[in-house]
Amino acid sequence: MPSICFYFQVHQPFRLRNYSFFDIGQSDSYEDDKLNEEVLNKVSEKCYIKTNRKMLELIQRHQGKFRISYSISGTAIEQFEKYRPDVLQSFIDLANTGCVEFLSETYSHSLSFIHSKDEFQRQVKKHSDVIKKYFNQTPRVFRNTELIFNNELASFIEGMGYDGIVCEGVDRLLGSRTPNFLYNSVNTGKIKLLLKNYRLSDDIAFRFSDRGWKEFPLTIDRYAQWVHSIAGNGDTVNLFMDYETFGEHQWESTGIFNFLDALPAEIMKHPDFNFKTPSEVIDSYPARDTYDAHDFISWADMERDLSAWLSNSMQQEAMKRIYSLESEVKACNDPQILNIWERLQTSDHFYYMCTKFWNDGDVHKYFSPYDSPYDAYLYFMNVFSDLECRVKALRKKSKKEMIRSLKRPSAGSRIIEARVVTSAEELYSH
């Protein structure tokens, strides 16, 4: 009995303002608050509010048989808290139906897994906490930023106690196999992989309103036919996409909401088909084979690899610099500094610096708030420089304070003093 498994990605970055060289050491306001608020309001109106209302309606109409999942980044949640609590509430309402699962991800939608396992774990935990706080769920399934995945991630995530991971079903890894089964990873135990069916996902997410597409306009019965055709050769059709597909990437005028409205009923016309959340899919079906992703894969661009964020020297330099600051940032023990640093890890900053000029370049450009990838790099590095100055100043200050506290006669025991001396020496040995 095959299932349809929907997972929608909800993410908004904190975009940086045009932070110039002359702002370094002068201004600690890095983000374009006005733009961020504007974008969030626009997307809320066009997508989140409307689509959430539709999802709630569909869940109620189908009496719990329509089931979906979301992954909402920590930065998106922070923006909802700040600008649109009504949107956050509408997600909570969806959570309360019991038909919606929330997945786990890195808090700031970062590429931390590639650069720092410590930071990765910290962010996953932080995100998990915020999901628990708002939606009263402890995520069992993990999705990494932009479905970035490799064998190592599977085993690492298994070690963190997760039951499943969502990732891209990449042709070159699947070969003649179908993404419509659960898979195992290499060198792991029980953890299961849910592979995105990119053809059926992209039919909705990208091609729906493409007038040049031979299937345009896509009717719901035609689409349901394609889904039903997997019967007998698949357990789950994983439809993963950006949530902004509804109303933002595909405008309401394309008929996307009518399509969504009719979808559950049309799929369930076939008595064998149902809807399940990722955890339910994992609980219902066995893994049929092994999916071996030695190198990193992702759901981005034609290449389905890391090139959207790490293909040119600017992206690599910016990324290297931001993670090189990790130990200093963490030693500051300053929640605000940590927060800023965490936000600078958001993958979008590096996506804007991409200089690939194929079809994907257009997509990068569409999403970028800057005139060019060069501007994106320039502003980012200026912000980085300012943050670096602040971190250094804080560290210097705390070292001074530590020395002063050593000189002060203390009532504490000798043992404690000796320990402090050791750590101060450690500090200077660096």
Binding site: F21, I24, S313, E317, M381, N382, D386
Partner: protein
């Protein structure tokens, strides 16, 4: 203005308020100083009614009646053969891909103009050769009705005009050489502009290169005899220098100029990387725009010095001065720099300069450390020494300050008039 003063017909191209590079500044400052010693008429493509100069007759072609000067067909044959091909030449890079404090450049382009012979707002854009020819035609017609002793043309854009006027009037033609095609495009460039420069300089009676460096280039690459040249270095105007507090703790090394091959931006990058190997606590700031902008960003990232190498984009005067006021060393790694006014400006702000020997300013700014533009190690060493050795730094700055007394436009003006006289032009 006295009647006994020599009458000079000057031909200019860039002029305030339209300034693209050093040429506009130099023409303005020089003619202003010369106007104390001579009776000057300056013809430029565009003058603004708001912009007046003391003791000087400033003629903008945009204010002329085209029927009177523009369409007079001349059947005269020029004393040289120059193929004319309309071309989209762009000798000075104009695009500004990233702008800091963007100025409003779009002044109303048709102010009080009776004629608009060409798109004057963009002197180096579009079909620049046809602009040069139109300027020559109109200027020559205009000059026929004027009284003057010498023709003084600035750079290749006005050479054709100078030649036509000499041909018609027989007056001595002086060519002031601020920059050559071989500086801008490399020694292998042999295009239309090069041909024009060569023919023009051959036809002229006296060349005034802005440095010995340029004089030797003229000799070497254009085959002109040194006897025909009188070197007159540029001067500089006194500026009110000041110091500002740096907003970050790292010392700062500054580069100012168009990001083009001629200015050696990639040398600056290599020097930066070299310095940072020894001392990672230095910031390198590159102010300016040009066709190397993107590649500078990419290369600095590639060399992993993106956190210490900053590009500011286009800067207005105020921001530029601020940069001078917070910088610790000025670096000018030009591959071929006829003069290099920016180094003088840096010296005026009390910043020690590390400059390439392939520059004119190196001849007059003895208080500076010099290197061959290809010698990255030496330049990096000089910068490190200046940053770490306060005694050396003090000495260089003091010597430069001494030099500045002799780098004045008044001195340049006097030398030019002397050159006229020694050649018996006046």
């Amino acid at each position: 203005m006295k009647n006994s003063q020599p009458k000079v017909l000057m031909l200019g191209w860039e002029f305030p308020p339209i300034i693209n590079g050093g040429l506009g500044v130099a023409c303005h400052d020089l003619s202003s100083a010369m106007s104390e010693l001579a009776n000057i008429t300056m013809i430029i493509p565009k003058s603004s009614p708001d912009f007046k100069m003391k003791n000087m007759n400033l003629v903008g072609i945009n204010n002329l009646d085209v029927n009177e000067y523009g369409s007079m067909e001349s059947n005269e044959k020029l004393p040289f053969d120059l193929k004319t091909i309309p071309a989209d030449l762009n000798p000075y890079y104009m695009e500004e891909p990233f702008q800091e404090g963007k100025e409003n450049n779009s002044q109303n382009s048709n102010f009080s103009g009776k004629v608009s012979p060409f798109d004057i707002d963009n002197l180096y854009g579009g079909d620049v050769i046809s602009k040069v020819m139109q300027y020559a035609e109109i200027t020559a017609n205009l000059a026929s009705k004027m009284d003057f002793d010498v023709i003084h043309a600035h750079d290749w854009m006005t050479m054709l005009a100078g030649m036509k006027i000499k041909q018609r009037t027989g007056k001595p033609l002086i060519m002031h050489i601020h920059s050559l095609e071989v500086d801008r495009s490399g020694v292998d460039s042999k295009g239309w502009v090069y041909e024009l420069e060569k023919k023009g300089m051959e036809y002229a009676d006296l060349l005034i290169p802005v440095s010995n460096f340029t004089a030797s280039n003229i000799h070497k690459y254009y085959g002109i005899s040194m006897d025909k040249m009188s070197v007159v270095h540029n001067g500089s105007n006194k500026v009110k220098s000041f110091k500002s507090k740096r907003r970050f703790k790292e010392k700062t090394v500054l580069f100012v100029g168009r990001l083009t091959r001629q200015k050696g931006p990639e040398k600056f990058l290599d020097i930066a990387a070299k310095v940072l190997e020894t001392n990672p606590d230095v910031r390198f700031v590159m102010a300016g725009v040009g066709d190397y902008f993107k590649s500078m960003l990419e290369q600095s990232a590639y060399q992993h010095i993106g956190n210490r190498f900053h590009l500011t984009g286009f800067l207005n005067q105020e921001k530029l001065k601020y940069l001078f006021s917070v910088s610790d060393v000025y670096c000018m790694p030009s591959v071929s720099e006829p003069f290099g006014l920016s180094a003088v400006e840096a010296a005026q702000f009390g910043i020690p300069c590390v400059i390439s020997k392939q520059s004119g300013v190196a001849e007059v700014l003895n208080g500076s450390l010099k290197f061959d533009f290809w010698d990255i190690n030496k330049a990096a060493g000089c910068i490190l020494n200046l940053l770490h050795d306060p005694i050396l730094r003090k000495k260089v700055v003091e010597d430069a300050s001494e030099n500045l007394n002799n780098i004045t436009w008044d001195l340049s003006a006097k030398k030019i008039i002397d050159a006229y006289a020694s050649r018996k032009f006046i």
